[in-house]
């Protein structure tokens, strides 16, 4: 499958066929997840209604980290296997990851004010998440700053591969340092520490957000492939007129 989609023309054909189904599936899963989150899930016995913020905050945070790992893996494959779409996929994923990181920071802050009594603290988890946002911005800036796609991919790949060290720091920050942010309650030894009435909507929303990412990624990657095609035509046109 990975090699099959290495051909940009084949990717464009497959993406065009898959896109409507993916949009429909995303709408269904995300719609049902939001219904569970806003209507079915009970208020938490401690957090009250503010627990509903978690149904956006947790999926956005997971994806913010997951997308950065995806970008680093894509660049690694671009470096090693020279997969033609790997760098383009990483480039297409970056703005989506940046927005999910911003959603994570904003919703975390909106949850923190009523629950912790503060919008922000410079604890290890929040700070490392903010660093992730800056890494996304730096990565996007590299693509904007360097004109030639191959050179931009190399520099951006270095940013992605060096920056991925921040992901385990985010994940384990709550264990390595004394943080205001609570320890992991989903991915932890001994299983999730969340009641099923909250866990089920959370998992549906995580699936919905992941599908939303996939839908936006494929559409954005299509735009990137077409943009490179336009660039190729411009170069050929310029070459012919010389």
């Amino acid at each position: 499958m990975f090699n099959y989609l290495a051909n940009p023309n084949r990717f464009l054909r497959v993406q065009q066929k898959v896109q409507p189904w993916l949009v429909a599936l995303t709408a269904l899963v995300l719609g049902y997840g939001l219904y569970l989150a806003l209507v079915v899930a009970p208020p938490d016995y401690q957090q009250g209604e503010t627990v509903r913020i978690m149904f956006v905050h947790v999926p956005a945070s997971s994806l913010a980290m997951g997308i950065y790992v995806f970008m680093a893996v894509a660049h690694a494959l671009g470096f090693v296997l020279r997969h033609p779409l790997a760098d383009a996929a990483a480039k297409a994923a970056a703005p989506i990851g940046a927005v999910f990181t911003l959603i994570s920071l904003a919703t975390g802050s909106l949850w923190g004010k009523p629950m912790w009594g503060t919008w922000w603290v410079w604890d290890a988890r929040l700070t490392s998440m903010f660093v992730l946002f800056l890494l996304y911005l730096g990565y996007i800036a590299v693509w904007q700053a360097v004109d030639e796609p191959h050179r931009a991919a190399r520099v951006a790949g270095i940013v992605a591969l060096v920056g991925v060290i921040n992901i385990p720091i985010i994940k384990f920050s709550v264990e390595w340092w004394n943080t205001l942010h609570q320890p992991a309650s989903l991915l932890r030894a001994g299983g999730p520490a969340i009641d099923s009435s909250i866990l089920t909507p959370l998992l549906w929303n995580m699936a919905g957000f992941a599908l939303l990412f996939l839908t936006l990624l494929l559409y954005s990657l299509r735009a990137e492939v077409l943009a490179r095609r336009a660039r190729q035509m411009e170069l050929a046109q310029a070459g012919a007129s010389m």
Binding site: R52, I103, K113, P114, A227, R228
Partner: protein, 78 residues
Amino acid sequence: MDFAARHIGYVIAAYGVALVLLAGLVGVIVLRMRAVRKRLAELEAQGARRRAPARASSAENSSAKPAAATFVEGRKPS
């Protein structure tokens, strides 16, 4: 959801912020696609092709590939 509950404004604000940011992201991606399609259509209307016409010197070597042809895959010409 109890709209009279304490701190409900924070919940509404959180969903509102997420919605606005995601809508903005979708908007940016869709606008970029439109701009790219428009540019491609303009180039095609101008008769631009993805490969430069072969020149007399390079035509002698049939295995030579135009330099620009490989850029669609984001790769340096080999």
